[in-house]
């Protein structure tokens, strides 16, 4: 009797496991596609905040791990991109607040090799430094719009999709942000 019941239970279990394994493989395959498609996005969002490629990669890695845990709800491409950009942003902001990471960034920036023309490179680095400070000093809402707009090449539709905001709101915030940056860098 026990053997009979056990055989029936195993048969019932086998009916359920095969579809579940197929779903898992399908999810993993889709995640690999997203990883290839969106790794640059997560990296550049983090880079815009942290200004350090090494730190930006760490943040991008963490963002993807978290995305994988929630991937069953993020399978649609636009939804995944927006979620990933928001998560990479939050993680980068958290990391920026750490004084230790800031010191490492300064050391990494000092060790970068010089451009062929020393004066032009110095001027460019100086401008980039001031620009980065000015962007960091923006209010969070404006800063996010500026960085994501730059990541998306100032494509308003894509930026609005990533932020989950209307295009008009994005345009208005970008306008205010650029005005503040121009005043600061004049």
């Amino acid at each position: 009797m026990d053997a009979l019941v056990e055989a029936l239970s195993e048969a019932a279990g086998s009916l359920d496991s095969a579809p579940e394994q197929r779903i898992d493989r399908e999810l993993e395959r889709e995640f690999e596609l997203r990883l290839a498609d969106c790794s640059g996005l997560a990296f550049r969002v983090a880079l815009g905040v942290l200004h350090s490629p090494a730190d930006a990669e760490d943040v991008a890695q963490e963002a993807f791990v978290r995305a994988y845990r929630n991937f069953s709800e993020l399978r649609e491409r636009e939804r995944f991109r927006a979620w990933l950009a928001r998560t990479a942003w939050r993680l980068a902001i958290d990391r920026q607040r750490s004084a230790i990471r800031r010191q490492r960034r300064e050391r990494a920036a000092a060790s970068e090799p010089s451009a062929p023309s020393v004066e032009e490179a110095a001027a460019e680095r100086e401008f980039q430094g001031r620009l980065a400070e000015a962007v960091d000093a923006l209010p969070d809402k404006l800063r996010r719009v500026v960085i994501l707009s730059a990541v998306e090449g100032y494509d308003m539709r894509e930026t609005a999709s990533l932020l989950g905001l209307p295009a008009g709101t994005v345009r208005s915030r970008l306008h205010r942000a650029r005005k503040l940056l121009a005043e600061k860098l004049r």
């Binding site: 009797m1 019932a12 009916l15 550049r44 980039q128 306008h175 650029r178």
Partner: protein, 252 residues
């Protein structure tokens, strides 16, 4: 207006946010003021530098190792793309009636000790009430009928336990589930479960529909609310009564 007043308009114009009427007035001023034209050009140059600088600062690609690092981290942590749900609504739907009956029997048999054997009296007539061992049909008919007891049915000396499980059994499968239960208590080579489809079934006739209920049909079941005669909140009581009438009609 002097040049100081036009400065704000110059910035707005460079940002592309100056209204049409003001833009016209600014253009008229710029036509005669070289200093303001130079100021507008400087603001436009600065904004272009800002845009270029932002794009340039982010114009980098992650290393080729990023994807590998993500995979390695996921493998180390054993992260799953979705939580593994053993029993979900989606998992219930394709479960066959046989597997469902086995599950219910497993749970029920674990709660009761085997009853003492007593051969059943031959020629017992079918009674109208269903057996009281915890299984109830999904849709109890208005006129209840007793199912025939197996000759090997063992009468329990204990009082039958109050039904603790409700299982949804396809109409017409009730006899097959009961037969399965009886065959578990006294498995014989000719037990119903071992011969789910009769090798030598009866010739098709008036009794074919009745005897077909003995055969266990393996097909997906549909989870439906139990019809206990009491309408659910918001349900149409007339519809509940109509379903029972349809059942009676189909049994004739």
């Amino acid at each position: 207006m002097n040049c100081e007043n036009y400065q704000e308009w110059i910035e707005e114009a460079a940002l592309g946010a100056l209204g049409a009427s003001r833009h016209a007035r600014l253009d008229a001023h710029l036509a005669g003021c070289a200093r303001c034209r130079e100021s507008l050009a400087a603001v436009e140059r600065l904004l272009r530098e800002i845009d270029r600088g932002l794009v340039a600062s982010l114009d980098r690609q992650p290393s080729t190792e990023l994807a590998a690092r993500v995979r390695m981290r996921l493998a180390e942590e054993g992260v799953r793309a979705r939580p593994r749900a053993r029993w979900t609504v989606g998992a219930w739907v394709p479960v066959s009636a046989a597997a469902l009956a086995a599950l219910i029997l497993t749970v029920w048999l674990g709660r009761r000790s085997p009853p003492s054997p007593r051969p059943g009296a031959p020629g017992e007539q079918a009674s109208a009430t269903p057996p009281s061992f915890g299984l109830t049909p999904a849709r109890p008919a208005r006129a209840t009928r007793k199912l025939p007891r197996s000759p090997n049915h063992r009468q329990s000396t204990r009082q039958p336990a109050a039904p603790q499980l409700e299982v949804l059994v396809e109409p017409g499968q009730w006899a097959a589930v009961v037969k399965l239960y009886n065959s578990v208590w006294a498995p014989e080579p000719s037990s119903g479960f071992a011969n789910a489809s009769r090798a030598s079934g009866p010739a098709p006739g008036p009794e074919a529909a009745e005897q077909a209920e003995d055969q266990l049909v393996l097909k997906p079941i549909e989870i439906k609310p139990l019809d206990v005669g009491v309408p659910y909140p918001g349900a149409n009581p007339a519809e509940a009564g109509g379903r029972a009438e349809d059942e009676q009609t189909s049994r004739r």
